[in-house]
Symmetry: C2
Subunit: 217 residues, 2 copies
């Protein structure tokens, strides 16, 4: 009689549940470690450093994530999901929350330098980005109805402003952790004026599709 | 008697000049090919593709550039040099050229997506970035004297605006080739207002040193 068949060991269903729970815990532990390591040392840091920081063996890491790219993509997915949740909460608030949304989402992106560059088009990002665009459009419409931003803005302008914030965070890293604030402040002043129409055409929804699908090279 | 010693062959000094000229021509040919390949297919494209496009063998490529990183760094150096030349020409014009400078430099950066992310801190970029910062400060001062931008801007705001443009170009690629224009237009409206002082602190010169030295992670 093997240990597995002994009366004292858990029933197979229970064992399988426990294995699943252990696997989930390990996955969370790896992702938390990766977030901390990449934020502190940049995303070029090797997966070995992540393993060491997580306290798990390299074999365990690779059972959960085929390679570093898969790990980074999962971090990006979780970050985009948090950003979308945030946008949807602001829309649901029923307030003129465009400015606050931009601030909150930029703070969120700034919390994970290194990862942010990938969040606009990792594999499978389409569903989340579609939700993000819907929420951004709602926030812009409400701000325009409240008269707090100019009427000729389109939702793609909001997305482009976040690309801009990403550039500042990505290039400036820790030194520019707050550098996006003053830039966004100037953008919002520009958006808030009621002067003549903007002369330059916005990106189109089709452009945004290209960007999100990664075919925009 | 070998061919090299034949009376009809060039003298050693002349042969060495010709070898130098050939090497320079090959180097230019590799860089041109790399620029075209990376602009069309992204910087992740392998050095083999660059070799094929240049019509030179992989061995010749590696005689000129130790690896892809070295090639990309040289492209970045040439791009930053072109950007600095542009800034200095605008300063020398004696006109209020900040706006035109931003436009021209963004066009230039947009001509080489993929490379632009590296131009702020490749190895040895310090001399060029120092020249760039001096020129940007001059352009800002002149714009402030002309009253075309608000007085509380600092040179670092100009640099941050270019990081923002880089983010738009880098994430949006071809689809956002003109997306930075409308963003920069809004920024310049924000900069042009004479409203209350900007509430958020700018990056400091020390922050910019950290960013340029690559220690800002």
């Amino acid at each position: 009689m093997t240990v597995n068949e002994s009366g004292g060991s858990p029933a197979p269903a229970s064992r399988s549940r426990r294995r699943r729970r252990d696997a989930e815990e390990n996955s969370t532990r790896i992702l938390d470690a990766a977030r901390q390591v990449f934020a502190a040392q940049g995303v070029a840091t090797s997966i070995e450093v992540v393993a060491e920081h997580s306290g798990l063996g390299l074999g365990t890491i690779y059972r959960h994530f085929a390679n570093k790219e898969a790990l980074v993509n999962e971090l990006a997915r979780q970050l985009l999901e948090a950003a979308v949740d945030l946008a949807e909460r602001h829309v649901a608030s029923g307030e003129d929350a465009l400015r606050q949304y931009l601030w909150d989402v930029a703070e969120l992106l700034g919390s994970q330098p290194g990862i942010i560059r990938t969040i606009w088009n990792f594999p499978g990002s389409e569903t989340l980005t579609a939700r993000s665009r819907t929420a951004q459009a709602g926030l812009l419409r409400r701000a325009q109805e409240a008269g707090s931003v100019r009427g000729d803005l389109v939702p793609e302008d909001v997305a482009v402003a976040l690309f801009a914030v990403t550039g500042i965070l990505d290039i400036g890293r820790a030194a520019a952790a707050s550098g996006w604030q003053r830039h966004l402040e100037a953008v919002l002043i520009g958006w808030g004026t009621s002067g003549p129409g903007l002369r330059h055409a916005p990106l189109t929804a089709a452009d945004m599709d290209d960007i999100i699908s990664g075919s925009g090279i």
